[in-house]
């Protein structure tokens, strides 16, 4: 596609609910990244894939967070047993080379 597509754009979850956020990267982009952006803050790295391999998951804040990219294209970020501190915008980005990311518009998650 023309850009990185994320869905849903907005998600309201009750505390304790599981959520799944989807990212469709730009076609042909090998590298895929997830970032978390709290209100009024810069994005913070969560995890990185090269094709289907998850090469770095050092930014995932807890074992409630899980990401996958099984066929090296679409990626899903799953958050189990959501907590209020998980409320943020979750950004996905893709790149051919690892530099010069293209970000999607993000999914705004609100946990109530």
């Amino acid at each position: 596609g023309a850009g990185v597509s994320q869905s849903p754009r907005y998600k309201v979850a009750k505390r304790g609910q599981d959520v799944a956020l989807r990212c469709d990267p730009i076609s042909g982009h090998v590298s895929l990244f997830w970032y978390q952006q709290a209100l009024g803050q810069g994005p913070e790295f969560l995890t990185y894939f090269q094709n289907e391999a998850q090469l770095d998951k050092s930014g995932l804040p807890s074992d409630r967070f899980f990401a996958e990219r099984p066929e090296g294209s679409v990626s899903t970020l799953k958050i189990q047993r959501t907590q209020q501190e998980d409320s943020a915008v979750y950004l996905c980005a893709s790149s051919r080379t690892g530099y010069g990311y293209t970000f999607g518009s993000g999914t705004r998650l609100t946990v109530v």
Binding site: T102, F103, G106
Partner: protein
């Protein structure tokens, strides 16, 4: 631990003026320094980037100045326009962790007409 410190938090500039945003870093292994522009409800978009082997890079009205010894870099927006009103983020990454960008806290820029 904040590895990239950005200032100011907010900035108001008159149309036609020069907007200057500064960043300082601690990790001397950083070797890639991009700037991103973010509009409300959108993801960050890459504006311009520099590597430490040059002291300045210019693209249109946007210039990065880089001071390796001081571990500082800055974004200059010449002839600032109302359409430049957005939040700007500096970032950095290492060669080994090229895929992991460390972002500054952001600067909300407002250009008054």
């Amino acid at each position: 631990q904040q590895q990239v410190k950005q200032s100011p938090q907010s900035l108001i500039v008159q149309k036609g003026g020069i907007s200057i945003i500064n960043c300082a870093y601690e990790n001397t292994a950083f070797d890639y320094f991009p700037w991103y522009q973010q509009f409300p409800g959108k993801g960050p978009a890459l504006l311009i980037a520099i590597r430490p082997d040059v002291s300045e890079k210019k693209e249109g009205r946007f210039t990065i100045s880089f001071n390796k010894s001081a571990k500082q870099f800055s974004l200059h927006i010449m002839d600032s326009q109302p359409g430049d009103s957005a939040t700007y983020f500096c970032a950095a990454s290492t060669k080994e962790g090229a895929q992991k960008l460390v972002f500054g806290q952001g600067t909300r820029l407002t250009i008054n007409p």
